[in-house]
Amino acid sequence: MVVSANIPLGSNHFLLKFTHKEQLPEMLPGQFVQVRVDNAPGVFLRRPISVNFVDQQKNELWLLVQKVGEGTRKMSEYKTGDVVNMLLPLGNSFTMPQSAQSRLLLVGGGVGIAPLLYMGSLLKQQGCNPMFLLGARSADGLMQIDDFKQFGEVFITTEDGSAGEKGFVTQHSKLQEHIDKIYTCGPTPMMQAVARFAQNNDIECEASLENKMACGFGACLCCVTQTQSGHKCVCSEGPVFNTKELSWQI
């Protein structure tokens, strides 16, 4: 894959766009890629990153990345034209709603909004009207809002109140309205709160997990999460799970 753009977003995030000489394989919403980060000190394993968006026309893959350690820091230095080795697409995907009339809420926190953009774009394509509820610590952590707006209404919370409603996503007023299904990705405590809300209100809920991975394709069994039917691999049997299936203490 060849880097076609690297766009800084705020102080801690960046958007990488990649093209490929051949046509990109079909990618499903919720799937991820495994990036080999070369020449980064201490980085031995690949780094899993969600598919943020696929631009069919431009044959382009987008990754939205947060700088947290050496691997993502190195990725933040990628330049247009750099060639990056990645495995893709990996994992299962969010499931499409029963009907286009369903009231769908996509709840993202921090960089966990990444897979929701692609999911939102496909929902819109299929005639749904997805709503997005995006949370961040502060306004600086909000990204791609204009992109999301292309595909549906966007609601925002920030912990410090610097944008949208103040508080956590689970405190947003929009949650008072009727919702049929929630798709969520973000920090585990946030997803658990969302799952609890969904459970209490009898809402379908799918969450995309971000467990630590070694292989990314079901070979090592390192990335498991406990489910109603035992340990499941987040990389190959996930990353998307119906939250009812997960053994979360919620």
Partner: protein, 303 residues
Amino acid sequence: MADLKIRIGELEFKNPVTTASGTFGFGEEYTDFMDLDRIGGIFTKGTTIRHREGNAYPRMAETPSGMLNAVGLQNKGVDYFISSIYPRIKDYDTNIMVNVSGSTIEDYVATAEKVNELDKIPAIELNISCPNVKQGGMTFGVSCAGAAEVVRAVRKAYSKTLIVKLSPNVTDIASIAQAVEEEGADSVSLINTLLGMAIDAETRKPYLSTITGGLSGPCVKPVALRMVWQVAKAVKIPVIGLGGIMNTADAIEFFLAGATAIQIGTANFIDPAISVKVVEGINEYLDRHGCSSIYDIIGALEA
């Protein structure tokens, strides 16, 4: 094009490159990336008599040039293997060897007996060295008496090629290899993971739910090479070398140290097609060095 065929016990391998247990699933996980028929063999995920859930998450930590794992032999048990996995994989044109793990001698024996019945499984690898399970596993592998005892029992129950996988967490691996050889093992494979630990200085917590785990990857290669060299000098049966092999040069080093075959483990996670590339690389190396057979370099260290 040199001759890459090697022999372990009664069993012929089309080439000496195999994949290590626990890093290659049951092979199927890799079919998107490579052609399984091109490698010499596959060692399956550790299989036990009963279903095991393995250890709690987190089970993995990255370390300098390596990783720790604490999977803890998660598997659905040998019966599930026989009924559900074996039928799907048995017709690959490569040697499929079941990695037999356990906590008691009875379990090892019972599992080996069941696998003995499978036509297309020509060998087992007896894992007496897993550091990630509370009972059994490594405890057998760290003493000559313990290793001999379990091999003796399994040897009686298993009639095909018996490979015993040794633990590196010992004072004298060569004498354990000898003990195992005396009990009729056809081969020894080494090394399993080194017992290690990782801590998050900021949270003050261990990275693994089990606190300690098994270290693998290039960081362990110097230790693995040394042990292969010590064991190859000490036993007559063929040695299968592994530990940190990432590329052709690493593989060649193990052959020079005395390994008849190699296993590729953690490297599969970083390049899932690496094993096929190493087969090609070995071919190229042998040609370049004017060797007609892989046996020309086995144990050929100029020391």
